[in-house]
Symmetry: C4
C-alpha cells in the first residue's frame, strides 16, 4: 500500500507536484474558453512542460522504488501513468478529454497527514451502512422505473412531441427524485401531476434515509472510540 | 411467510429468473422508444417467450408447494400472477401499462441473504418513528392546502390564464415544498412572493424533521443491539 | 386547556365533524376550478349546509360548557368561530378567502389519541434546539441579504430589465438557498455566478445544520426516556 | 475579546443601535427599488443621519475604551468603521455597494445573552467535524470538475452556442449538485444525461454526509455535557 520512495520525498517536492496538478487542471479547463482561444500557443507549451515534469517524476519514483517489477501495477502508479499517457497517444486521435483523468492524482493529497483519519472514519461509516444503503439504492431504482412507466402512459397523449419513451421519462424521474428539478420536462395532465406529487413526496424520504443511516453509524463509531478510550484510561 | 419450494430451488434458477425479470423490464422500457420501433417484431416475440417462462415457473412452484390450496393467495404468488396476467388479458383491451407490475417481482431479491437484516433495521426505524412521521405528514398536508389557497387568492388577478384554481396551486405547493422547483408556475406578485418565501423556508424543516427522526430512531436501534450484545457477553 | 363538553362527546360525532371539515375544505378548493363553474349552485347550497351545521355545533358546545363566560375566548373556540364568521360577514364584501381559516380546525385532530405523545416529542426536540435554530435562522437572514446586495450590484448592468432592486434579488436568494431553484431569474455575469456558487454551496449547510440539530436533540430525548425507564425498572 | 465600554452600555442604547442597523439595511435595500425612486431625497437625508449617529457612536466608544491605542484594530471596531467609511469616501467614486458591509455589524447581536452558548455548541460541532468536512469538500470540488469536463465533451457538439467551456459547465455542475437546478442549461444528449444522472444521484450523498457528520458530533457534545453534569451531581 505504501508508495515507498514517495513517502520519503521532501515535503517541498510533494507540494510542488500538488501545485502542478492543480495548475494543469485549471489550464485544461481554461483552454476550453472561447474568449481565451488567442492564448492557444501558451496553453500548448504549458501542456508540454507539465507532461515532461510529470514524466520525469513518474520515471524517477519508478527508479527509486524497491520493487521495480510491481511498481507500474500499483493503483497510484497507474493513475500517474493515466495522467500523462493521453498526451503521448494523441498524435493520431484527439484524447484531450482523457486529461480529466489527471484529477484522480489529487486523491493522493487525501492520503497525507491529518485527513487520513477523517477518510477512515467516513469509510467506516459508509461500510457499516452499506447493506442498508444497498436496500435504499435498490428501492430508488425501482421507484425511478415505476415513475417513468407511470408518467409515460399518463403523459403520452398530452405531450407526444416532448417526451416519447420510458427511458426519456427515467431522466425526468431522476431529475425530480433528487429534487434538482430542471424545467425541460414536467407533467401537464392531472393524472401525471398526481403521480408526480406522490413521487416528489417520496423523494424527501430518499434524502432522509441515507442521511439518517450515515448519521447513526457515525454516532456509533464515535461512541465506540470514546468507550475504547475510557477503557484504556480505567485500566491500571 | 416462507415460499417453501422456492427456498430449496437451486441458486442458478433464482439468478436466471432474476435476470429474466430485469431483461423483461428493460425490453418493456426500450419498446417505447420511437427510434427502436422497427424492432417491433423482436419485442413481441421476446415478450411471448418471457411470459411463457414466467407461466411455467408459476405453475411449477404451485405444483411443488406443500399447501396448494393457499399458495395462489400468498402475497408473492399474487405478484407473480400480476406479472403475467396482463399479457393474457390484453386480447381485448390494451393492458400493456400494467406490465410495470412486473417490477414488484424484484422485491423478491431483497428477501434473500444479507439484505434481509438491513430491510428489518430500516423497517424497525420507520415503525418506531411512525407516530411522529404521521404528525409531520399531517402538518405538511395542511401547509400544502393553506399555501395553495393563499397563493390562489394572491396571484389570481396577476396570472389569470396560468393557474386558475386551488388544486392547480396545490401542485405548485408540492413542487416547491419538496424543493424540486420546476418553473412552470411561480408567484409574480409581491404578496405571492412573500407567502412563497415563508413556505420555502418551511420546506427546509419539512426535510429536516423526517431525517432527524429516522436518524435518532436508528441510533437508538443500534445502541439497543450493542447493549443486548454486551449483556450476552457478560452473562456467564 | 380541556374542551370539557367536547371531550365527553361521542366518538361518532367527532368523526362526523372531522369529516365535515375535510369535505368543506375540499369543496372550497374545488369551487375555484373553472371546469366546475357550472356546479356553482351545488357549491353554494353545500356551503350553507356546512355553515349551519358548524354554527349549531358551536352554539351547542357553548351551551354545554361549564364556564360559559370564558368559552368564547378559548383558542379552539375562536378557531371554530373563524371557520363560520366569514360566511355571515360576506354579505357586504367578499371574504371567501378567509374560509381557508377553516383549515385550522384540523389541528384539533392532532390533540386526540396516540398522536399527542408524538406531538410532544417533536415539540420538545424543537424547544431544546431553539437557541441553535435561532442562531441558524439569524445567519440565514444575513446570508440572504448579503447575497441579494451582492447580486444586485453584480447583475445590475447585465440584466437591467429583469431584476432591478435588492428586495427583488432577495426573492432569488431565498429561492436558491432553499434549493428550490425556479428559473425566473439567475445570474448571467461571471462575477454573479461566482457569488451565486458560494451561496449555493452554503445552502447545503443551511439544510445540514437544522437537520443535525433536530436529530441530536431527538436522540437525546430518546436516551433520557430509556434511562428513566430503566431506572424505574431497577427500583424495587 | 471584550468590548469594555460597550459591555457596560445601557441595554436601551444597544437596542437603539441594533434597530438603527436594521433600519439602515432596510433603507439601503429599498433605495434600489425603481418604484421608490421619487423618494430619493428622503433616502439621502436618512443615510446622512444614520452615518452621523454611527460616527458619534464609534468615536464615543473609542474615547471610553480603556486601551485607546489598540481599540481601532479590534475586529468589531474595524467592522464598525467599515460601516461608515464608504459614506465618507464616496465623494469621488460610487462606493454605495460597500454599505452592505454594515450587515456585519449585526453579528454583534449574536455575542449577547442567551445565544452565545448556542453559537459555542454550533462552533464546537463544526470544529470536531472539520477534518471530515474538509475531505467531503475536497471530494465535492473533484466531482464538480470531473462533471464539468465530462459534460463539456459530451454536450460540446449538441449545444455549441449555449455552453462553450469547462468553467461554464462548472456552473452547471454546482447548480445541479446543490439540487438547486435552474433551467438555464441542462444536458440534451443521451451520454450527457447518463453522466448527469450519476452526478445527481451523487448529489444526495453530498447532502447526506455533512448532515450526518454534524448530527453525530452534536449528539456527542450533548452526551459529554450530560455525563459531565451527572459526574458533578454524583460527587459529594
Amino acid at each position: 500500500m505504501s508508495d515507498d520512495a514517495r513517502d520519503k520525498a521532501p515535503r517541498a517536492l510533494n507540494l510542488f507536484i500538488q501545485g502542478l496538478i492543480l495548475y494543469s487542471i485549471v489550464t485544461v479547463a481554461l483552454e476550453t474558453m472561447p474568449t481565451l482561444s488567442s492564448y492557444g500557443l501558451f496553453f500548448r507549451i504549458s501542456e508540454v512542460v507539465v507532461v515532461v515534469i510529470f514524466t520525469v517524476e513518474y520515471l524517477a519514483f519508478w527508479a527509486l522504488s524497491k520493487d521495480r517489477l510491481r511498481y507500474p501495477f500499483r493503483f497510484m502508479a497507474i493513475v500517474d501513468l493515466l495522467a500523462i499517457l493521453p498526451f503521448y497517444l494523441q498524435l493520431g486521435i484527439d484524447l484531450r478529454s482523457l486529461r480529466a483523468l489527471r484529477l484522480l492524482r489529487i486523491f493522493r493529497v487525501l492520503k497525507m497527514g491529518r485527513y487520513s483519519k477523517a477518510l477512515q472514519t467516513l469509510g467506516e461509516a459508509f461500510q457499516r451502512a452499506a447493506p442498508e444503503l444497498a436496500v435504499v439504492g435498490y428501492t430508488v431504482a425501482l421507484i425511478i422505473l415505476i415513475s417513468a412507466m407511470g408518467l409515460y402512459y399518463a403523459e403520452h397523449d398530452a405531450q407526444p412531441e416532448v417526451y416519447t419513451s420510458v427511458p426519456a421519462w427515467s431522466w425526468w424521474a431522476i431529475v425530480t427524485l433528487t429534487t434538482v428539478g430542471y424545467s425541460d420536462v414536467y407533467p401537464v395532465t392531472p393524472v401525471g401531476k398526481i403521480i408526480a406529487s406522490a413521487i416528489m413526496l417520496t423523494g424527501i424520504g430518499f434524502i432522509a434515509v441515507p442521511t439518517g443511516l450515515l448519521s447513526s453509524t457515525m454516532t456509533d463509531i464515535l461512541r465506540e472510540r470514546r468507550e475504547k478510550g475510557q477503557g484504556a484510561q480505567n485500566a491500571p
